[in-house]
Structures are given as structure tokens and as C-alpha cells.
């Protein structure tokens, strides 16, 4: 039996009076890749941002319901510890432009005031960059600014920065929508490697991507979690009409 890492019960989120996530119940199994898909404005990104409490940074944003990470209530924990346990990668690659590649990878430690001996830091940087298959490409230019890298490399650098913190889960908010096809496939390959150590939740617009990379898929529509099942079942034999319509392209 697989263990559950994240559990939501009757979870709601709003921006002011705009109710964008409605009564979501979901169990996310450990070391799996979960794809979250749905049309624009369906609440998938908002839900993702509720998991690591990024949602509440927006003025007027509220949420309620149960969100448990390993049976511990995420909304009772300090948001900083939540975000250390649940990392996030964004739609647009966002390395810190004023930091070198090396410092970008180690940025999480610096931000949290964790002082490490140089040897250990070097180890973390090398390990993290190796995990995202970037080490070979950048090992000779670690002191260059991260913003000199290509879009795909920048995105992998951002993943390395997240991985360096050794989180339990990593949330991806449309991680390849700003990337070219080759970079996209590199990042997708990466997902399979990362699965061994982390649980990944990937919000995507791209149905093919959801089908290619994920173990389970959740379909959001109008703020509701319409259907959540094994990816194979979702794409071959969905139970809900709306899922059927979405994956056959009747709306998007």
C-alpha cells in the first residue's frame, strides 16, 4: 500500500469574493508524479499555490479546509517551514539575476541563514546540479550570473535550487510553458529521475505532457476537482463527461 504524503479535505480558496477553488478532496501518494490539468481559470494554479501557502501572499486571498502534509496540518505550521518542506518551481524561469549560478543553487540556505562549511556547500551545489542534469554544462562557469543561461538551463537551475533544499514535495506551476520543445523534453525526463526522492505535483496546460509524465492526473474545472485517477484511466476511460470533453478537445 502506498503512503499518502498530502491530503486535502473540503479545501476552498478565494480571492476576495471570487471563489476559485471549491471543496477539493485529494490524496497525493508519496514518490509519485501527479499532473493537474484543466482549462485556464479552473483554479489549478491557485490550488497548487495553496499547498505551500504561496496563495496567502496575494492581498485579499483566503482559504479554508484541511491540508495535511504527513498528517500535520499545513495551515498550523509556520509558512516558512511549509515552504522548506514543499518546494516550488514557477512558470517563468526565475533565477536570481544578481547571483551567480553557484549562489543561485545555494540561495535557499543563504536566505534561511544556514551557514555551511565550504566543502559541504560545494557538495550540495554539485549534487543538485547533477540531479537536474546541468552539472556538466555549467561546472566551468559556476561563478557566472544565472541569467546568462538559456531558458531551459535557467529552469533546470531553478529546479536545482529547489532540490538543494531537500524538500519532500516539489510543486511545478506550468514548468515548461515558457520553454522550447527540446528543453521541455529535458525537463520532462528530469521528472522521472526526481520521482525516486520527491513527490511531484505538476500543473500543466498541456494534456500530452500530463499523459507522458504523470502517474496520476487530476482534472480541475470551474474550481472543482472533477476527477482524479490513474493517468492511464483518465486518458482512456474517464468517468466524468467533462473530463471526456476536455481530453477530446471539445473545450480548452
Amino acid at each position: 500500500m502506498e503512503s499518502t504524503i498530502l491530503k486535502s479535505r473540503n479545501f476552498n480558496a478565494s480571492f476576495g469574493t471570487n471563489h476559485v477553488v471549491k471543496n477539493v478532496n485529494i490524496d497525493i501518494p508519496r514518490n509519485h508524479i501527479i499532473a493537474v490539468m484543466g482549462p485556464s481559470g479552473c483554479g489549478k494554479t491557485t490550488y497548487l499555490r495553496c499547498i505551500n501557502r504561496m496563495h496567502e501572499l496575494i492581498p485579499g486571498a483566503t482559504s479554508n479546509g484541511e491540508m495535511k502534509l504527513n498528517d500535520e496540518d499545513v495551515y498550523q505550521m509556520h509558512p516558512i517551514f511549509v515552504r522548506l518542506k514543499i518546494g516550488m518551481v514557477f512558470q517563468r524561469p526565475n533565477p536570481f539575476p544578481n547571483l551567480s549560478i553557484y549562489d543561485n543553487v545555494i540561495a535557499g540556505y543563504k536566505l534561511n541563514g544556514i551557514k555551511l562549511p565550504k566543502g559541504e556547500r560545494d557538495g550540495i551545489v554539485e549534487r543538485s546540479l547533477t540531479k537536474v542534469a546541468l552539472w556538466k554544462e555549467v561546472k566551468d562557469s559556476l561563478n557566472k550570473k544565472g541569467s546568462f543561461l538559456s531558458g531551459g538551463q535557467q529552469q533546470r537551475l531553478c529546479i536545482a535550487r529547489t532540490v538543494a533544499m531537500e524538500p519532500e514535495m516539489i510543486l511545478f506551476d506550468e514548468p515548461t510553458s515558457a520553454l522550447d520543445p527540446i528543453s521541455t523534453s529535458t525537463v520532462e525526463e528530469l521528472f522521472h529521475e526526481l520521482k525516486a526522492n520527491y513527490t511531484l505535483v505538476i500543473v500543466t496546460h498541456n494534456m500530452q505532457q500530463a499523459a507522458r509524465v504523470s502517474d496520476k492526473t487530476a482534472f480541475f474545472y470551474m474550481g472543482e476537482l472533477v476527477e482524479y485517477d490513474e493517468t492511464k484511466i483518465m486518458f482512456t476511460n474517464p468517468k466524468d463527461n467533462r473530463t471526456q470533453n476536455y481530453i477530446t478537445g471539445r473545450f480548452s
Binding site: 515552504r83 526565475n94 535557499g108 536566505l111 541563514g113
Partner: protein, 320 residues
């Protein structure tokens, strides 16, 4: 030049009528091109007028101070005595007074202006309190400087006097310190409003990156917002400094107006701008008048040099 956007897309593979229609459209764009040229030339002329104005001011100052430059020589700059009755003119006490009051004012005002900039730009960009604060800060810039001088003389100086007797220096009240205090208040808005707009321009995706790594708000400000906006903040501070260097009225009213080199920051002194304002009407000899105008030239050059240094520093920040 006709750009591709002037031609409607549907012309491609379209009927002759459509092409005719498109040609009509291009006629319209010739008119646009003429407007464009007129606009560009207007901008160039406006820009040139500004350049001519600045050069003109500098040349006039230099020309009018030729008598003083030829009779007093370069030692005018570092001579310590200013005694018009005996025709002795040395600008050093005023040069020192100007630099001292301005930099002291800058040191006092920067913590306030940067705090206001961060508060309005990052912590509370919206709401009635920030709106009120923003307007209040901008109002500071709109108050006439004579009112500041008057307020400083009536309210600030007695407190400074008490403070001076408490720490055991001669309780004059008026002097460098009082001038710096009132200058500090007056220059806050320049750095604060430029800093605020710079801080509110920091892309949210960068801030989110830091938040997602577990940063607190202060850490986001320290590691993302401030490094990203340092050149803008510095430009605002430079603007403040420029204002402090040239401020005349308020300073004249509380600096004490002595031509002696200030012994400490509480002593009375004088700045270049306030000497010019005070003594211009009394300058009965040509050399005296010329020496005052040379003082204006020196003030002008000091401002230019400080601005150039500041620009260099901003460039270094930006290339970083």
C-alpha cells in the same frame, strides 16, 4: 518607411480590390510618417534647448566671475578667510559648510526615506494609510523652504539648543547641525518617492522565488528587493543630495551666517548658497560681486562633479 503592420494581413492572397484598399491605407501611413518626423524634431529641439540652457548658465557664471578668477587665482578655493571689507576672499569655509550640511542631512534622511520607500513599495502599496503617507511625503516637497526655515528657527532651534547644553557644547542653537536637520526633512521625499516606484517595479516572480525557498519578508527585501533596486535607490539619494547642496533659504535662516570655519558640527557656519543670497545685495565692489558669482560657479561645479560620481556608481550597480 512602411512597416509590415501598415499592410493588413488579408492582402496576402487577396483580390485586387483588397490590394487597392491596402494602398489607400499606406497613403494614410505617409501622413503618419510626417507626424512622426515633426514629433521627432520637436523632441530634438526641446532636448537641445535644455543642453544650451545648462551650458549657458555655466558660461555666464564663468564669464561673470572672470574678474575674481584673475585677481584671486585658484587659492580662492582653499583660502580660509572671507573678509570683503579688506578685499580678502576665500571660499573654503562655505565649501566646507555646504558639503558638511548636505552630507550630514543625507545621513540623517536616508534611513527615513529608504524606510518609507520600502513601506510604500513593498509592505503596504494599497490602502488609506499608505495613500495618506504617500501624499504627506510628497507634500513635504511642496512646502516653500522659507516656511521650513521659519519653523526650524522657532521650533527646532530651541530643542537643538537644549540638546547642545545637555551634551556640553556651546548652546548656540543655530548652526551646521540645525541646518542639516531641517535639510534632512526637506530632502526625504526625493529619495522616498523614487525609491518607492523602483521597489514597486521589482518583478513579483523574483520575490516569489525567494518566498518559495522559505524566505521571510525581511529576507526577501534584503536579498531580492534591495539588490534589484539599489541603483534606483541610489539615484533617489543623489537627487536628495543635489537638492541639499543647493537649498538656500531654510539653511540661511538657521545656519548662523558666520564666515568662520565651523569648529564642530554644532558650530555656526555658512554655505555657498546662503552666502550668495545674503551678501549679493551688499556687494558694492566689482571684485566682491565677482567673488560671489565665482562662489556660484564653484557650487555649480561641485553639484556637477557629485552627480558625475553618482552616475558612475549607478553604472557600476547596473552592470553588476
Amino acid at each position: 518607411m512602411i512597416t509590415r503592420s501598415d499592410i493588413p494581413l488579408r492582402v496576402i492572397n487577396s483580390s485586387p480590390e483588397a490590394i487597392l484598399k491596402a494602398k489607400k491605407r499606406t497613403k494614410r501611413s505617409f501622413r503618419q510618417i510626417r507626424t512622426e518626423n515633426v514629433f521627432r524634431h520637436t523632441l530634438t529641439i526641446m532636448g537641445l534647448i535644455m543642453v544650451i540652457l545648462v551650458l549657458g548658465i555655466m558660461l555666464t557664471l564663468a564669464w561673470q566671475s572672470r574678474l575674481s578668477i584673475s585677481t584671486l587665482g585658484p587659492k580662492y578655493l582653499w583660502s580660509k578667510v572671507w573678509d570683503p571689507v579688506q578685499d580678502i576672499y576665500g571660499a573654503w569655509p562655505f565649501l566646507l559648510g555646504t558639503l558638511l550640511t548636505s552630507f550630514l542631512a543625507l545621513i540623517i534622511s536616508v534611513p527615513f526615506s529608504v524606510s518609507v520607500a520600502i513601506f510604500l513599495g513593498e509592505y503596504h502599496p494599497k490602502g488609506w494609510l499608505p495613500d495618506f503617507l504617500k501624499n504627506a511625503v510628497e507634500l513635504i516637497a511642496a512646502v516653500p523652504s522659507v516656511i521650513y526655515g521659519f519653523w526650524a528657527l522657532e521650533v527646532l532651534v530651541p530643542y537643538v539648543r537644549k540638546f547642545e547644553s545637555a551634551i556640553g557644547v556651546e548652546p548656540v542653537g543655530v548652526g551646521i547641525f540645525s541646518s542639516s536637520l531641517i535639510l534632512a526633512v526637506m530632502i526625504i521625499p526625493y529619495a522616498a518617492s523614487l525609491g518607492r516606484s523602483m521597489i514597486s517595479l521589482v518583478p513579483s516572480h523574483l520575490k516569489e522565488a525567494a518566498y518559495a525557498l522559505g524566505a521571510t519578508r525581511w529576507e526577501v527585501i534584503r536579498t531580492v528587493v534591495l539588490p534589484y533596486t539599489k541603483s534606483g535607490l541610489f539615484a533617489g539619494i543623489l537627487l536628495s543630495l543635489g537638492r541639499a547642496l543647493g537649498e538656500t533659504m531654510a539653511v540661511t535662516m538657521v545656519i548662523g551666517n558666520t564666515s568662520l570655519i565651523p569648529k564642530n558640527i554644532f558650530a555656526p557656519g555658512n554655505t555657498m548658497a546662503s552666502v550668495i543670497a545674503n551678501e549679493f545685495t551688499e556687494a558694492d565692489k566689482p571684485v566682491y560681486l565677482s567673488a560671489l558669482i565665482e562662489l556660484g560657479l564653484v557650487l555649480f561645479l561641485v553639484t556637477v562633479v557629485i552627480n558625475l560620481i553618482g552616475k558612475k556608481i549607478i553604472d557600476r550597480f547596473t552592470n553588476d
